[in-house]
């Protein structure tokens, strides 16, 4: 499984491609997904300025988290040559994320990617933090955002995107496929010798893909896997699909 004959040896990162509703979706170890057909990179739960928010409340957290997250994003944007960046909610952790100090590394990052189109689908944190300042040139929209066969939202359980077949009476029509964030999924593995690890992961259900949190400075809930779900874990610089438990 790890040495597929067609693997391109030149790539440092091992990405993983899925076809969902005739759309190719690539899962990246940088905690991001990509839609190659529209050259779009998708991330969720970015939480810019979380450290600043904590400091403002007297919790002495060092800076550096946001910058390091942005460097990871740079690497991915280079590699994929993306035209669009779509953020599935929680771009800023709180309103402190838009204060000058927290904004500096973000502004620098934006100036490195002047032609990149950035869209934010608002999440629960964004509701408190407010929209990004105009200088960042990020367009913010409310969930859900539908493009073709795919729907984008922050919360996978957001009422507006969960299909209500009883009301529409159209249970024959396929539910739209959702790409979401919000839950920061991680998966626990265990094995012989009592070994255990916990890995950030992508969860793919019949009509929903949940992305891992992009920010490394976030807590996470262990995902309880359902029968029909596929789980793709991030192991250092690789994405691997986990066998059924």
């Amino acid at each position: 499984m790890n040495n597929s004959p067609t693997a391109s040896p030149a790539r440092a990162h091992s990405d993983l491609s899925l076809t969902i509703r005739d759309e190719q979706i690539i899962l990246h170890a940088e905690r991001a997904a990509e839609l190659p057909s529209t050259r779009t990179v998708i991330i969720a739960d970015v939480h810019w300025g979380k450290a600043t928010a904590l400091r403002a409340h007297g919790v002495p957290v060092p800076a550096g988290g946001t910058t390091s997250d942005l460097l990871r994003l740079d690497a991915l944007l280079h590699r994929t040559r993306a035209h669009h960046l779509l953020v599935l909610g929680d771009l800023a952790h709180s309103r402190h994320g838009w204060e000058d100090r927290a904004l500096q590394p973000v502004q620098a990052w934006r100036s490195r990617w002047p032609d990149l189109q950035v869209t934010l689908v608002r999440g629960n944190h964004d509701a408190h933090a407010g929209d990004p300042p105009a200088s960042l040139r990020i367009s913010a929209v409310d969930a859900p955002l539908t493009v073709g066969a795919l729907t984008f939202a922050h919360d996978p359980l957001c009422v507006k995107v969960v299909p209500d077949t009883e009301c529409t009476g159209r249970d024959d029509a396929p539910a739209p496929f959702r790409l979401c964030g919000h839950v920061h999924p991680t998966i626990k593995l265990s094995g012989r010798g009592g070994d255990r690890v916990r890995l950030p992961c992508f969860v793919v259900g019949p009509d929903c893909l949940i992305l891992p949190a992009f920010s490394a400075f976030t807590g996470s809930g262990a995902w309880t896997r359902q029968e029909e779900e596929r789980v793709f874990a991030i192991v250092d610089d690789r994405v691997i699909e986990l066998p059924l438990p």
Binding site: A7, P60, G219
Partner: protein
């Protein structure tokens, strides 16, 4: 209590202040003990000291009546010249004090006379003890006609009384270290304490080796700076290192020596060590199982010996059944009441998580005879002279000689009578421990408790306290800190770092003005932000434990509190035993766990974190001796005789190791390959050794270990066979490079990350929120684990990280002891035995579910192995889609 009728050996001189006391004693039919007189006389001469004796032998009045006698004498003098009190109202002149202690003058202060201001502070480690203490102190005061007020101020004190105390403190105040620290946060604290004569620290042995002990030291240093003539008396159980205990309590002399950098060792304040009553005879008995066949090899939650326990209790007029953990306590209470429903009305449960009112009613009931049987944890270990009981039982091993003595002392209080404790083992190996404990007790091998060494998290907290309490200068604060033993060796560098951390959050945060707890203005550090002050005040109590969650019925009614970590493991619908009732967990909201009565009595038992007490060094050594006697075929106590079949099975499947050899048992089970290693040094040392051995073996080849430890040894488990022989060849047991290897190993095993939880809380990095405001604070909470990771990555020089490491090294793992153990082990013969089945010694380790981890393998390799196993388990491997793209 002090009920001896023996007459005093020597006549007191006429001027001796103790005379009215003797009269009061006589009125009660008592005669003061020689040690009580010794303390009163020393107090009258202005001396300080430490009194050590078993609980309930009159230590309380030894310490308390000195200040009482002094007041009586003053009153006699002052009635003649009543005017003098106002002249003497300022015993310390503001100019003599360090700048930071200058009292803020309250307009009322000049009106009130010094005589009725706070004179005596009584510090008790448990707020549950405050009410009893208050009552005991009040008795002679009233009898002797002193116009004193005695009150307590703790977390349990009613808001109305606290409000009253805000304006006016009583003459004597019973309080806890936390509440005292809170008082030091008041701007006018120097004025509050200006007439203080004496501080008594009760149960000092309980505080000594904890951060709360260091917190007490800091508070005492503050008080001594305000009142240089302050007398300090400590009350302690007998310890192996009483001089250290005394010197730590009394602090160091303020001198130019401790202004140097690094500070020169300063002399301790002089004080006396007073020995209380000579311990009476103590008899340690055990209930032994009739047959070993069904008696469990491990665990501590069995009630096999219940019938024998009931038989003993049947005959008792009053009994305390001590347990080691709250889960044990709940279980035994439940079992006794189920077996004997007719006993229910006079049987009670007592532990630290229960609601204050309930604990009080149990204590009162025990005294009045309403309750005949009380099942308790160490919450009844301490306490002012409880009425003695007929029968004291100890469920499980006492784990230490001092604890055995303390608990035994609850029975047969009257001098000359024998104290008796009945031990009830809960697993086979505890029989060995009880037998060993009796030997150690006879050999007088009582444990020492070492004071803590400059905890920087507490220092950061204390600096904020000083800043709130009127502010401080760097030089003044450093000099004062260095008069405590805990911070005597504090370097200027560490001190500056702590100041920096409290003002800016450390070097990495210099560019962030929004983060600031302390503000520097004209050489003085103060707090300006009201929110910082509120947060700090709420954080002070957090040294003791993690956030306490109140347990309440949905229908109303508070039952007690439990740790957040316990509630976190429950899911709604879970049933747990608490306060002798089966409760169904409904939900947790705003620091309240809502419960309802469970419909069925489930077997769920709370599994409290950190509930296991480690074996003390002294007892561990005694266990080695006891096993050696068994190896030689000498089964000379009832306990050893009872556990004989098991030890013989051990010898049959493997061996009972000699004292000069290290036994390693190797075996494979379904879970993996095990190395069971038995140094018999107590769990704390084993945790360090396990990490060290795992690290050293894993240097030879990439491997992943998980390990479990108990008091006898540890189990290193790995998915593949570990290269043990090769590791022994290359110095597995060598004391060389110990510090390096152990530092590496504890990082690899993430032990420091775990320790960081407490440090982060004390230093104010984690904040559990304002009462009733949790939801809005959620966005500014971060877990300590996450903080540890962020600090490690972006601020690796943060001294709190270093402290986490040091604490694990020195306190958790007892690094120096590990060094001694390695020296012993490296001189021992290593005996590796391949066993087919786990032995009696291995079994408890095998079933232990709490394991640490250390790995030198690549994450990808570990994940590959785990996924391969998952596929093997599910049989046919599912087709894996892994298509490289582009």
């Amino acid at each position: 209590m002090t009920t001896v009728r023996r007459s005093a050996r020597r006549r007191a001189p006429k001027s001796e202040p103790a005379d009215p006391l003797a009269a009061w004693f006589a009125s009660r039919g008592w005669t003061p003990f020689a040690f009580q007189r010794e303390v009163w006389e020393a107090y009258a001469r202005g001396e300080s000291g430490l009194i050590h004796a078993a609980t309930g032998t009159g230590k309380t009045y030894a310490a308390w009546l000195g200040p009482v006698a002094e007041a009586l004498q003053e009153a006699a003098t002052h009635t003649a010249t009543a005017v003098r009190t106002t002249i003497r109202s300022k015993p310390v002149n503001g100019a003599e004090l360090p700048a930071n202690t200058r009292p803020a003058r309250s307009p009322r202060a000049s009106v009130r006379s010094a005589a009725d201001k706070l004179r005596v502070l009584w510090i008790t480690p448990l707020r549950a003890l405050a009410a009893d203490t208050e009552r005991a102190l009040l008795e002679p005061v009233q009898a002797l006609g002193l116009p004193w007020t005695v009150e307590s101020r703790t977390g349990d004190t009613k808001a109305s009384l606290r409000q009253k105390q805000r304006d006016r403190l009583p003459t004597a105040l019973v309080t806890t270290p936390e509440s005292l620290t809170l008082m030091l946060c008041r701007q006018d604290h120097a004025e509050l304490f200006s007439n203080l004569r004496c501080v008594v620290v009760d149960e000092w042995h309980e505080l000594l080796s904890t951060k709360r002990g260091a917190q007490t030291e800091l508070a005492l240093a503050r008080l001594r700076a305000i009142v240089p003539t302050l007398r300090t008396w400590g009350l302690s159980a007998t310890l192996g290192n009483l001089e250290v205990a005394r010197d730590t309590l009394l602090g160091l002399r303020a001198s130019s020596r401790n202004a140097a950098d690094p500070p020169a060792p300063a002399l301790p304040n002089s004080g006396r060590l007073v020995r209380g009553l000579v311990p009476k005879e103590i008899i340690v008995e055990s209930l032994v199982p009739e047959t070993m066949d069904r008696f469990p090899w491990s665990g501590h939650l069995n009630v096999k010996l219940l019938p024998q326990v009931l038989e003993r209790l049947e005959r008792a007029q009053s009994a305390i059944v001590f347990t080691n953990t709250r889960s044990q306590c709940e279980l035994w209470f439940q079992s006794i009441c189920t077996a004997r429903p007719d006993w229910f009305e006079f049987t009670a449960i007592h532990h630290g998580s229960l609601d204050f009112a309930q604990r009080r009613s149990v204590e009162d009931g025990l005294r009045s005879g309403r309750f005949r049987i009380v099942v308790s944890t160490s919450s009844l270990d301490l306490g002012v002279d409880f009425s003695p009981v007929d029968v004291v039982m100890q469920i499980g091993s006492p784990k230490g000689v001092a604890r055995l003595l303390q608990r035994a002392g609850r029975s047969g209080h009257s001098p000359g009578r024998v104290s008796r404790i009945v031990c009830v083992p809960t697993n086979a190996l505890e029989l060995v421990e009880v037998s060993a404990a009796r030997d150690a007790m006879r050999a007088n091998a009582i444990e020492s408790r070492d004071p803590v060494d400059r905890p920087l998290d507490l220092l950061v907290q204390h600096l904020v306290t000083l800043a709130l309490g009127g502010g401080f200068t760097a030089a003044g604060a450093l000099a004062e800190l260095r008069t405590t033993r805990a911070y005597a060796a504090l370097t200027r560098e560490e001190f500056d770092w702590a100041i920096d951390f409290a003002t800016r959050g450390g070097d990495t945060l210099q560019a962030y003005p929004e983060y600031a707890r302390l503000v520097l203005q004209d050489d003085r550090y103060t707090v300006r932000d009201a929110q910082v002050a509120r947060r700090h005040v709420l954080n002070i109590g957090t040294i003791v434990s993690d956030a306490a969650i109140a347990v309440r019925f949905l229908t109303g009614g508070r039952i007690g509190t439990v740790e957040e970590s316990f509630i976190a493991r429950l899911t709604p619908g879970d049933v747990f035993l608490f306060s002798g009732r089966a409760l169904e967990f409904v939900r947790v909201r705003d620091l309240v766990a809502w419960v309802r009565k469970a419909k069925s009595m489930a077997h769920a038992i709370p599994r409290w974190a950190g509930a296991r007490m480690p074996l003390s060094t002294e007892l561990a050594a005694a266990v080695r001796d006891t096993l050696e006697s068994a190896r030689l075929g000498v089964y000379n106590t009832p306990e050893l005789e009872s556990v004989r079949p098991l030890l013989e099975l051990q010898a049959e499947r493997s061996v009972i190791p000699r004292p000069d050899e290290l036994l390693i048992e190797r075996c494979e089970t379904r879970d993996g390959f095990h190395l069971f290693i038995y140094p018999f040094e107590g769990r704390l040392v084993h945790e360090g050794l396990a990490a060290l051995f795992a690290y050293r073996i894993a240097q030879l080849a990439p491997i992943t270990f998980t390990f479990a430890c108990n008091d006898y040894g540890f189990d290193l488990m790995s998915p593949e066979l570990a290269p043990l022989e090769e590791a022994i060849e290359s110095g597995l047991l060598a004391p060389a490079h110990l510090l390096h290897d152990i530092t590496q190993s504890l990082n690899a095993a993430e032990l420091a990350r775990r320790q960081f939880r407490e440090i982060a809380r004390v230093a104010g990095l984690i904040f559990s929120g304002f009462p009733g405001q949790q939801k809005s604070m959620k966005q500014v909470q971060a877990s300590s684990g996450l903080l540890f990771d962020v600090l490690t990555r972006f601020d690796p020089d943060n001294l709190l990280l270093h402290q986490a490491q040091r604490e694990v090294l020195e306190r958790q793992l007892e690094a120096s002891r590990i060094g001694r153990v390695l020296t012993r082990l490296s001189a021992s013969a290593v005996r590796v035995i391949d066993v087919e089945r786990p032995t009696p010694l291995a079994f408890p380790l095998l079933v232990d579910r709490t394991r640490e981890k250390l790995s030198t393998e690549k994450l990808a390799d570990r994940v590959r192995r785990m996924t391969a196993q998952m596929e093997k388990r599910t049989g046919a491997s599912r087709e894996v889609v892994l298509r490289p793209v582009r």
